[in-house]
Amino acid sequence: MRRITLRHFIALCCCLFGLFSLSTHATESASLDPLLAELGEAKIKDMEPILVKIEAVSDETILPLLRTLLNGNLYYIKAEKKVIGQFETNGETFYKDVFTNEINTGIDKPDVDKIRVNNNLRGYLRNAIARIQLTSKSPSVRENAVRELLSKLDDSTVATLERLYPYESNKKVKEAMGLALAMNTASQTELAVSNRIAAIETLSSSLENDVRNLLTTLTRDDNAAVVTAANIALEKIAQRANRFAFVDQLFFGLSLGSVLLLASIGLAITFGVMGVINMAHGEMIMLGAYTTYVVQLMMPNYIDYSIWVAIPAAFLVSGLMGVLIERLVICRLHGRPLETLLATFGISLILQQLVRTIFSPLNRQVSSPSWMSGSWEINPVLSLTLNRLYILAFALLVFIVLVIVLKKTSLGLNVRAVSQNRNMAKAMGVKTNWVDAMTFGLGSGIAGIAGVALSQLTNVGPNLGQSYIIDSFMVVVFGGVGNLLGTLVAAFTLGIATKFLEPTTGAVLAAILVLVFIILFIQKRPKGLFPQKGRAAE
């Protein structure tokens, strides 16, 4: 009974609210229509005062009209003394009411005149839109509106801000408004110096570009005290910005590290257990990426979900291919690691050419799911792209799952036994052939998953694997064979080192320096960062 009442109550509220909003729109349009007609007939130079009047009598509902006018799509129907918006889809032009979005089919091109705007008016319109948004109900819209206004503070904007500032309840919006007002205070030369310096101090906590521009102009101010304050503030901002730039670089380093981790971890397992280098590992990555592409082709309407299908599919495709290669080629070359290297290189050539024949040598575009695109903007100087963030998390997840598989399952136990001492494991009854095939399948399957991740970052082409394979080898060699933790540390070290070298040396030289470093490192620690202990390692 109680629930029903509550529901009724909500419904009633909605009705009332709807009525209320309808009625406001009605009263508004009553006073608005003549103004709009006036706007349609005015010359460009007379339009600004009319727009001021329009702004005075309206609220948020006017925004679509202003935006349409700003884009130059607002038209005036002379006969009806009304305005209408022009829209284009697929090359067809049609007209619709800017408030209700109703398409008006009865109007043709000759009936309407375009309402033209010039740069001056466009600037005014943008400000007006931002001002109106300041009174929006959503705090994020308000905050964006304030930030939008920072670069073009004029008297009317400042007046609006001053009027709204005391009533603002949201902390972030209030902060932004305070910033705008401080910018205004700081730039007013006729104000008292102490006030201006206090305003500059407030500004020094902001990272906005506009604030920095303003402070730079203030360093040429007539008043010496203001100049010093501005310089100090700029210094402070630069320090903070540097700190965030460091975080940004670190993030890119971690991102590269996560890609390297995904690409090399499968290699580390097969190398650790079987002592062979799989030169076709890069092609396993490529197969995974192409699997993602094919999955997307098969479910074009569900791109957002396709990735959940692609991950297991890529694991299976690459994993099965790995088992096939192991059974057909590698197991026959047992105990001849150099020949295995050559044979797998041959396989990599065949797979590359196969993909080129089936899918064409051109790159294929894999679209990212919508929830992976975009970026997480922390502040004006630091924003992290979401796909890199997800891939970082994904790489760590894969790593953890793999560690659990190796430590807690019977397959993992067998794999570790074989990698520590093959003969002894065999003597204890471990089926080494089976373990080899499974390890190879597991390593290749993870490479396939890496391919899914890479397809979100780069184009998918036949050479995809090639571009990562040498770096993956370096990670394995650097980290030490058969040691997952070593691979993790090595991947992130190399990733971060590369990204921190890049700004000073350039991308190519950074890659070369890292390679040279590893070549030298191997001299000192031939078995990598975390060598396997015991006599079996020799």
């Binding site: 190398f271 002592g275 062979v276 280098i277 080629v329 026959r332 070359l333 001849r336 690691p337 150099l338 020949e339 295995t340 290297l341 050559l342 044979a343 290189f345 041959g346 396989i347 990599s348 050539l349 065949i350 590359q352 050419q353 196969l354 080129r356 024949t357 040498i470 080898f473 370096m474 060699v477 190519v508 030289l509 890659a511 070369i512 390679l515 040279v516 590893i518 070549i519 030298l520 191997i522 001299q523 000192k524 031939p526």
Partner: protein
């Protein structure tokens, strides 16, 4: 038992193939050259200049295969970076040829090569100095690869980096050089490399006679290197090298400084690769960073594997055969070549571990065994 010993000794016996090889190589070369220079173009025995250049290129590859075989077949060191030594030798020659262009370049600068003028450089970088002297450039073609091999080998072998680790490191080495030479700032022509050569030692590079002379020189040097290598490898030093290949720890425990043997053999091999590169560049007319790419270095290994590693003659035959196949295949079915190459890698390692020379030995042993049986009967 006799079958077994015959199978092992065949294709591995030292010195047996040397004389026939040198005779066949030189006579074919001289005949082909004479056919090019002295026969009219419409004669059926005429050999076109294109073919001469192609053969010259194959002989450079054969020399390179020899270099790879010496360390892989005889010492068990699988280098996936021999393309680097080859390209460095090539660049030394390319720099000399570049300086010979003089003011005949597009920009007509008497001192600076075209690409430097294009990059707005004002003076010659220090490493280009002296490269206008032929003897100096040739010294560099041998010294630079040798020095690089020495430093790399000394570092690697001293700390006992072996097996696949070493292969991966050599691959990283050539990859690093590939990236470096792609940079314009390096002063080696960047992406485009060095090309547009005009003449060598005053002889026009486009002339038939120059081409034939280069071809002859390549053949003679190949023969000389073949004989020297054969001598080295059948000497006492060669025996130690074989011992290192078959069991390095045992050789070390007996008292040989295995790392020193390996370093010097590696340097020797790199020098041969450098010479091959220096001969290759004037014949094909271009050297660019693509020569450093890891896939090239791996291809060299398959030449040796196809021919039969551990036999010098096998390396040469493998290089000639595979490259001839490549020329034919890429002309007829370009797409199929990578399939064929890939299949070659797999099939040779699986079924022909000793290459064609091993197969030849196997067949011969089988025939001998059959004949023995018949004679007994």
């Amino acid at each position: 038992m006799t079958r077994l010993t015959a199978w092992f000794s065949e294709g591995r016996s030292t010195g047996k193939h040397t004389l026939p090889f040198v005779v066949i190589l030189l006579s074919v070369t001289i005949l082909a050259s004479a056919a090019n220079l002295f026969l009219p173009a419409d004669s059926i025995f005429y050999v076109s200049t294109y073919t001469i250049t192609l053969l010259g290129k194959y002989l450079c590859y054969a020399m390179l295969a020899l270099a790879v075989d010496i360390i892989w077949g005889y010492c068990g060191i699988l280098s996936l970076g021999h393309g680097a030594f080859f390209a460095l030798g090539g660049y030394a020659m390319g720099m000399y040829l570049m300086r010979q262009i003089g003011d005949r370049g597009v920009y007509g600068n008497p001192l600076l090569p075209d690409f430097m003028v294009f990059l707005d450089w004002k003076e010659l970088p220090w490493f280009w100095l002296g490269m206008d002297q032929f003897w100096f450039a040739m010294l560099m073609a041998v010294l630079v690869p040798g020095l690089l091999a020495f430093v790399f080998g000394w570092l690697a072998f001293r700390s006992r980096v072996t097996g696949v680790y070493l292969s991966i490191m050599t691959q990283a080495l050539t990859y690093a050089l590939l990236l470096a030479f792609f940079r314009n700032e390096m002063g080696f022509g960047g992406n485009n490399g060095l090309t547009d050569f005009k003449e060598i030692l005053g002889f026009n590079l486009q002339a038939d006679s120059t081409r034939v002379a280069l071809f002859l020189i390549t053949a003679i040097l190949l023969a000389v290197i073949f004989v020297i290598s054969q001598k080295i490898l059948s000497s006492r030093l060669g025996k130690v090298v074989l011992a290192i290949r078959d069991s390095e720890s045992r050789s070390r425990f007996i008292g040989y400084r295995t790392d020193r043997y390996k370093v010097w053999l590696f340097v020797y091999s790199a020098v041969i690769a450098g010479i091959a590169g220096a001969l290759y560049v004037p014949q094909v007319g271009i050297i660019n960073p693509g020569e450093f790419s890891p896939i090239n270095s791996i291809e060299m290994v398959i030449w040796v594997a196809v021919g039969g590693r551990g036999t010098l003659i096998g390396a040469v035959i493998g290089a000639l055969l595979v490259n001839y196949a490549k020329t034919r295949f890429t002309a007829i079915m370009p797409d199929a070549w990578l399939f064929a190459l890939g299949a070659m890698f797999v099939l040779v390692t699986l079924y022909l571990p000793k290459g064609l020379m091993g197969l030849y030995g196997q067949l011969k042993a089988k025939r001998n065994a059959v004949m023995n049986k018949e004679s007994q009967a």
